[in-house]
Each structure stands twice: as C-alpha cells, then as structure tokens.
Symmetry: C3
C-alpha cells in the first residue's frame, strides 16, 4: 500500500460548476473539499500523492499546501491538454514503473471503497470501479462479465444504456507503465482517450477487474451537486458549541447543531439540525435555519429563513427566504429578497449549462450565486437560476434566466405618475384602531 | 309541526359565488354549510325535508347523504328551470295538499325565527318573513299594513325603495296547493314568478302575515359574504384542544381557540381567538393568526399572518400576509406573497360580478381564491380580487383584476442587463459590522 | 444677561427640508424642536426673546405660544424679504439700542456655547461664532487673526475654501444699532447683505471677536440632517416607563428605552436603545426597533424592523423594513414594503434638492416621506429618495426618483394571461409534507 502512488486528476476547470468557483476549494464544515480528499487518503494509508494542476488553479494548490502542511503531495502541471489521458501522461515521469491509483478529486466516496479495493488488490492487477444505479448519469458505463470488464462506453445515449453500472474513477494499475503505453497508443476523435485505452486493454485480454461499490458516491459536476455533498457532511456532525458562543433566551436548537467559535444566536431564532454555523457568524432575531451549512462571518439578519442550503463566508442576509441554494462568499441580499425553490407547476427543475438544458432531477432547488454579488430588496430569484460573481441585481426584479459574471440587472419601471386627487378622502384611522385585536 | 313539509330550494348554481365553488359545501368548523342548515331543522323538529337539486349538484347532495346518514331527506331534481317558482313546481307531487315551509339553503338565521314562526302558525295560514334594514339589499322588499302583506317588489331601484323591510325566504303555506295554483297561474317577463304569485294572493285578499325577524341573517350570495358566516360560527366556539395537539414553548393562545386533533403550533406563534384550526394543520414558527377559520392539513409556514379569513383544506402558506380573504382548498402561496386587504385611498372595495361592479360595503377585504391555485413569491393581490381555480400566478406580480379559472399569469420583465463596472468598488464590510447593535 | 435681547431668525420656509414640513415643529422625544431652543434660552437666562416669523408660519408660532405658555416671546413678522438682513431690519424697532444676540432656530448647539459666550461678552463688544471642521459645509467661512475676524466668505467654492472655520449663526452685538446701521448701508447683488455688513465692520476696524465652538452642532437644512438631531436627543434619554405601559412576555428591552404613557409592546418584540416610543403607540408581535424615535399613536405591526429612524405620529406599519429614514405623520406602509437604506454598490447616497444632486455623505440612508402618504404592499423605496405629502405609491413598485406632493404612482403591469394547461399536473403534496422538519 505504501508503494502505491496516488494520482489525483485535479487539472479540471470547474466550468460546469459555474458560478461557484473552484469546486475543490468550496468549504464544508469550515474546510475546503480538497482537505477531506487528502485526509481520507492519509487516513487510509496512501501518502504518496501526485496532484495534477492546471495553470488556472496552480496557485490555489500552492496556497493550500502552505495552509495545510500536514499533507505532503507533489504538484504536477498538466502540459498535455488531452483531458484525463493528457493529465496522466503529463505525470509520466513521476508515476511510471509503479503501482498506481488514479482518482478524481471531486468524487466523494466512503472509506469502505478503500478496504474493498485493498482486498481486491491482493489478487487483481488492474481494478476499475463501478456503481449500480437506476438513474441516468452523464459519464462512463461498464459492461461486466464474471467480474471483469467487457466494454466501457463513455456518455452513452440516455435511451440506450449498455448497463446499469456507471463508472467511478478509482482505477488501479499494479504496473502503471502498461496503462501508460495503452494511453499513448489510444486514438479517438472525441475526448475519451482514457476510456479507449481501457477498452483496448480489455480487447487485448487483459483482465480488468470491476469492483462494485455501493456506498455513498458524491459526484460534483454541477452547482446543485454541492447540496448532496453538504448533506453528506452534515449527516456526520454532532452537537458542539465552540468558544464564546452566545445563545439568547428564547432561541431554540434542535437536532445536531455545530456552532463554531464566536457564533451568536439572538432571541427567538431556531436552528434545526443537522446544521453547521461557521466562526463568528451572527444569527439575528427571529431567524430559522434548517439542514444547512453556513460559513464564517455571516450576518443572518432579522426574520431570515434558510432551508437545506450551503452558504459561504461573509454573506449578509436580511429578511430573506433562501431554499435549497448554494452561495459563494461575500454576497448580500436586500430585505424581502426571496430565493424561490419550488416551481409553481411543481415539476422538476431544469438548469442551463453551456448550451444544454439539464434536468436537475430535483423538484426543490433554489439558486447558485457567485461571490461578491448583491441582490436588491424585494427581488425574486426563480428556482434553478445561476447568478455569476460580482453581479448587481436591482430591487423588485424577477430573475428567471441565468446572469453572467460581472453583470448588473435593473428594471426600468414604466411608472405612471399623476396628481393624486383623492388625498382629501383620507379618513380618520381611529375606527380602524378600535377594531384591532392583539 | 311534524306534518309541515320543508322545501329547501337547493337548485342554485352559486354563479355569483365564484371562484369558491358550491357555497353549501364550503366547510365551517370542519362541516359543510348544508350540515348546519339540516341540523337546525332537525333540532327544531322539522324532519320532513325535501331538497331541490340541480343536475350540476345532484351528486354532491347524494354524497352528502351518504356521509351524514343522521339526516334523512328527499332529493328532487328541478325539472322546471323557471327559478324559485320552477323549483317549487318541480316538487309539486311531493308537497301538494300539505302544510309547507319554503327556505333557501344559503340563508342563515337563528333558532329564534323558528319559535316566532311556530307561535304565528297557530293563527296564521300564510306567513312570509321580513327583515328591517337600512342597507340596500338586492332582493325582495315588502310593504306591510297591520301585519299583512300589501305589496312585494323584487329588486327595486336602489334610490326608490318601497320600504325598509327586505324579504327573507322563509315562507309558510298551511295549504300548499293554494300557493301551487297561484304559482301555475303567475305570468311575468322577468325571473319573479314566485313573487308575482305572492302579490296576486295579496291582491285576491288572502291574508299573508309578515313575520318581522330581527336576529342574525347571514345571506350568502357573493364570496365575501362567507366571511360573515365564518364570523358567526366563530362567535360560537369555545376553547378546545383535540387529541395529539402540540403547542411549543413560547407559543401564545388568546381568546377562544378551537384546535382539532393533530394540530401542531410551533415556537413564538400567536393564535388570537375566536380562531378555529382544522385537523393536522401545522402552524409554523413566528406565525400570527387572528379571528380566522383554517381548514385541515394546512401548512401555515414561517412568519405568516392571517387575519379575519376563511381558509380551506390542504393550503400551504409561507411568509405571507393574508387579510380578510376566503380561500378554497389546495392553494399555495410563495414566500413574500401578500393578499392586501385595504385600499391605499381607504375607500370601500368594489368587486366585479358578471358585468356589474358591486360595492362590497367593506373597507377591509382581501381576495377570494379558487381551489388548486398557486401564487408566486413576492406577488401582491389587490383588495377585492377574485382568482379562479387551477390558476398559476407568477412571481413578483401585482394582480389588480380578476383572473378566470384555469389561467396562468406572468410578467415578462423588461430587464436591462449590462456590464457591472462598479464591482471593484465593493468595500470591506467590517466597518458596517462594527456599527451593528443587537 | 437679562438685558440681552435674543433675536431668533425664524422666517425661513424650510424649502430644502421638503418633504418633511416645517423643521421647527418636527417633534423629538414628544416635543417640537422650537420647544428645545426656547427652553435652552430660558435655562441659560435669556428670556427677552424676539422671534421673526414669515407669513407662511405665523399661525404655527401663534399656536405654539398657546400650547407652551411657559415661554413668553414676541413674534415679529418679517416685512423686509431680503434674507437674514431683512429679518433683522424688520425687527429694528424692537431691538435697537440694546445688546443683541442673533441665532437661527434650526442650529442646535450645547449649553457650553452659552457659558463660553458669557465669558467672552465680559470683554468683547461684538462676538461671532466659528466651528472648525474638515468637512465642506455650504455656508459661511471665517478667516481669523489673533482671535478677530479678518474676512467672511459666504458659500465659497468647495475646492477653494478660505479656512477650515465655518460660521455658526450666534452673533452678539453689545450695541445693536451699530450693526443695524451697517446692515442698512450694505449693498450686494447676492443674498449676503448680512455677511457684507459684518465684512464692512471688520474692514472699518471694528473688532469682531470669533468664539471657537467645539461641541455638538446640529445643522438642520436637509431632511437627512434630522437623523443627526434625533441621535443627539436619543443620546440623552434614560430608561423610563410611563403610565399604563404593557410589555408582553417574551419581549426584550435592551439599552436605554423610553416608553411614554400607554405604550404596548407585544410578544417577541425587541427594542434596542437608545429608543423612544411615543404615547399610546403599539409595538406588535415580532417587531425589532433599534436606535430610533417613534411618535405617538403609531401601529408598528407584525414583523416590522425599524433601524436608526425618526418616525412621526399616527404612522401605521406592517411587516416593513425601515432603515435610516425620516417620516412625517399619518403615513401607512403596506405589508412587505421596504425602505432600503444601502446602495447595492455600497457607495455614498446622493439626493436631489432643487436642481442640485447633493452628496449626503452617508452610505446608509433611507427615505424621507411627507405626511398622509400611503405606500402599497411589496413596494421598494430606494436609498435617499424623498416622497412628498399626500402621495399614493402603488403596490409592487420600485421608486428610484423623488415623488412630488400630492402625486400618485402606479405601474401598469404588462401581464401575460393565458390558459394554464399544466393544472392537471398538480401532484399530491403528501410527500412534500413528510420531508418537512421542524
């Protein structure tokens, strides 16, 4: 195990994850996702780690290394741009002639996958990993016979799936050079050289054992996937109160609630677990938060409701409803702004990614909002909408289309202003007051 | 008394009651209005009951009969379509040669009317009923001399009323056949054959005694009339808690509050009586409800306020204000939607019925909303508006006209989207936070 | 001291203070501003008071005299319309041949100015008053040498200030007739005869001592200045509960809170001091008020938040956010209306006065609203906006320009109404309910 080199394919650019920035550095329970991936490898005994970086995220990896010196790993720049195959070939010098485990950094799985893998690695030289699912998944599909790979099909047609076994990138090669050779010889007009190499290996009668994994698999491609990851980590928390936590009289905590240092919860607010609140975040009066992760230094102001959401750092809310949403850092919402999470026709929510309109398979989904964005008072954001970073959304708007980074959005109201001839009709309000009951 | 046949004119089609469905089956305190009318007849000893049905509501009456077997009554289909006269004539075979009491099912009155009637019936062979009122009423008016009818005028001109005595349909004929004969001979070009028959009887020197009723009279023609009926029944309730009622700490109940089985009231909510909450309805956090009837299985979500309203079953609210409104079943309102109940010019609220614009004589009146309708987040419904069943009202709208059944309503916002050049000006929020006081 | 005549230049018309009415009669802690000015003079021994009135406010001064008989002062109508000079000359007969102190009624200063003045008056025959400030001030500037006036410049160019000493109108002349003579001889094409007279006195080698005042100076020109005055008076209050004050269980008071007679605070509301609540005002459920002055007979309804605002009498709010705003009397806001107080670009807030766009130097500023105005449900008023008296602002609007007195403002929504074909797709909500957690 100690001699297995782990190659993390971290050169992707999170395009499909827009507007949320780099998915590996989004924080869960106060730590970036990458922390958890490395920690899991360490905990399971894999410390010989090579991380592929792109030029766009190299600096972030370096910063991470400085911040978390407990992990030692080598950063390799992906020079060969040809997708996963290019990533592996970019690392050739470091990983050749060695046992090799290849993973994608944004695929979450449980420790049980390691223990099953280690058992299989005693007898198998090549191991791929499959996951049986009835839901369509826009990735690879495996057909298997007697435990070994027959065919691998990348992104098959939704109506013509070769099997119900999708592919999780957790690939082991006892002899990395064998795979490297296949990679070099692979040819394709599509972005599937890696899969072509595997297919060729199977065709050449190499035995590619397919490990059937059945635990939690958190795939992180689209912004809304982050909610699944958040739920997964929330399911692990316990009740906890850090230093200098203040909870006012009349505030109610229920279920597992994890409060970091300096959290302040004001009167008549209710936190329903599992919920995590980051450092120095203030929960104002009459707030309700359920099943959510809130970052550091947020102000969750008067009468805000947050449900099943993942909220970054330094966000500022104020009499808002936020349902099933994902927010980056440094976002502010004006009073009365609503992030709607449920269509009026109660059907599944679609979201545009590139030129595609994807079914999120969710009937409850709010918005994904990039960093530094401001939303005006009484504005309404429709379910499944994505708003870029550094945007300004005016007041009183209904946003039902995605808004790109660095855009502002206002409505020129066609107001009809005229003389108010009825002013003198205004009546005494004393009768009205008498009718009030409290 | 036992030999008096009661004829209930239940063939009307509730057209003026749109969008609320059939007024006899709207529930108050968990039971349909028809239940109360039959129960009152039974309680006062009248069990020989004939109910006129139309083809449009025949099935509903049959269902009712099955559901409430404690009442036995005969259903007669109205074959003669000529209004009230046609209704009575359709029942001729069942009611001829008998003492006969004719009532309308949607006119509510108190038991005292029965006791006064029974006293008068000892000496009088024909009894009509009048109600003295200073307010205009779009129905019949009576002129009376020495206690007996002189003339009956159907829907007189508002500015030329023959008297201040309006007519409540509670008509007794010791010999029904006499009245049936007059009905058959009556001729008119308008829908007033019944009244013409009465006028002709008076002309022929029959003595039609006019009983002067002065108790509560609940007329149910227009949707907003249901609020009066609701108030009447609410005035009768006592404090009550059914089985499995849960009331969280910090919730406040004041006045007469009737909670059916399974009601759950969460923290910091306040219920001000007289208020009735139906079975298994959930009152969320920080909700306020006053002077209202709420049906079964509703979710009254976070920070909703409901005032003087009649709310059906299976409704779902969420941070809404609902004032002086009537809602059918299975309605949902998005967060921030407001049902306004008070004009900005504080004048009386008008409502369109057919081609007429009627003065509701109310300065506080919200909306009437039909079943299965959805209203989007931050939408505003103006006072006196009616929204049909199965409608979808989009988000951020202002609805100031009635919306027909099965309509959707959206606003195409003319958004001005442009590059946000000010993004870099965003300042640190640390100073702002320091200024916060809690 | 007893022989000093005090001349209050009260003939101004508060034009720049629109839409808030007459600034001298706006109430703070239950009393009009003029009360405080007179009270301060009395307390410091100045009881020989002459008040210049214009024809537009003469009646108000007379009413004030009747209401506060504890102050005796003479009202003089300003016949000479030439600004401050005309005001003084209009009073010539009353003030000639006497020690004279001239002040403006809307300039607030502390008692320390009187004590410093009295000390200086022992040796100096003419005293002006300066205030050193780094901020630009649209008034007079003084250059001083050895304690005496060299030059006075009225409204210098912002980029070419003659000094950092601005002029506070607190002018003493031991011999009023000397100054009256200079006033009569002064000539100018601008509205600065008063300052020209002072400049000429200095030129003629009269010694005009300049007292350097450094305490609180509340200048009251524009509506937003009233917030500074309000803060000043709030800083003086102590905890106090008047007669018949009711505070419900679960309500929280923090800091110095002054509650006048008859105030009622309902459940789960929070008042954060310094805050003043006027007579018989009702604070509804779940309200939060901080750092504010609220007038008499207001209804602050369910879930309203008021921050750093000055609110007049008889106002009616209801689920509103009101930040850094100034409101006259008899104003009503519909549910969900928001008075925004912070620009989305977080920059300083400008406000139009006449043809000028002024920088208020505030990054948090709401609206100024005149008396008798109504604002509809879910409307949004942008930062720094002014709305006149007797206006009607419709529902669901975004108001980003000033609205003149007696104007109504509505939006004709371009609704798209069509048949709702999806109605039948409405699903059972039972699954949704099961997923709810509370």
């Amino acid at each position: 195990m100690k001699d297995i080199k782990v190659l993390i394919l971290g050169g992707g650019d999170s395009t499909r994850y827009w507007p949320l920035g780099d998915k590996l550095f989004m924080t869960y329970l106060g730590r970036p996702l990458l922390y958890y991936r490395l920690n899991q490898l360490y905990k399971n005994g894999f410390k010989n780690i090579y991380l592929i970086a792109g030029s766009h995220n190299l600096d972030k990896y370096k910063l991470f290394k400085n911040k978390f010196p407990e992990f030692s790993f080598n950063i390799i720049i992906q020079k060969d741009k040809r997708g996963m195959a290019g990533a592996v070939l970019s690392a050739e010098d470091s990983i050749k002639n060695s046992p090799l485990l290849i993973i994608k950094p944004s695929d979450l799985f449980e420790d049980s996958l390691f223990s099953h893998f280690l058992k299989s690695a005693k007898t198998e030289d090549i191991i791929l990993t499959g996951f049986t699912s009835q839901n369509y998944f826009p990735g690879g599909y495996l057909t298997v016979k007697d435990g070994y790979l027959q065919h691998i099909v990348e992104k098959p047609d939704k109506d013509n799936l070769p099997s119900s076994m999708t592919r999780l990138v957790f690939d082991y090669f006892k002899d990395s050079s064998l795979f490297l050779n296949y990679l070099k010889k692979a040819r394709s007009t599509k972005d599937d050289l890696y899969e072509v190499a595997l297919e060729n290996m199977a065709k050449d009668k190499h035995k590619l054992y397919v490990l059937n994994y059945s635990g939690f698999w958190g795939q992180l491609q689209y912004p809304w996937n982050a909610l699944n990851i958040s739920s997964y980590y929330l399911s692990k928390i316990k009740n906890y109160k850090g230093q200098n936590v203040q909870i006012a009289k009349g505030a109610v905590l229920k279920g597992n609630v994890y409060l970091e240092d300096g959290v302040k919860i004001l009167e008549n607010s209710k936190i329903i677990g599992p919920t995590y609140i980051g450092k120095n975040t203030l929960i104002g009066n009459n707030v309700i938060i359920r099943d959510s992760m809130i970052g550091d230094n947020c102000i969750i102001g008067f009468t805000t409701e947050i449900t099943r959401s993942l909220i970054g750092n330094n966000n500022w809310f104020h009499t808002n409803y936020i349902g099933d949403s994902i927010m980056s850092d440094n976002i502010a919402l004006g009073a009365g702004a609503v992030i709607a999470n449920f269509r009026l026709d109660e059907s599944e929510i679609y979201s545009s990614v590139g030129h595609q309109k994807l079914n999120t398979n969710k009937i409850k989904l709010g918005a994904a909002i990039g960093e530094n964005t401001r939303i005006g008072v009484n504005s309404s954001i429709m379910p499944g909408i994505k708003i870029g970073k550094n945007c300004v959304i005016g007041s009183g708007l209904v946003i039902s289309r995605d808004i790109n980074d660095y855009n502002s959005c206002f409505l020129k109201p066609d107001l009809q202003i005229q003389e108010n001839k009825n002013a003198s009709k205004t009546k005494s309000r004393e009768n009205l007051k008498t009718a009030l009951k409290f």
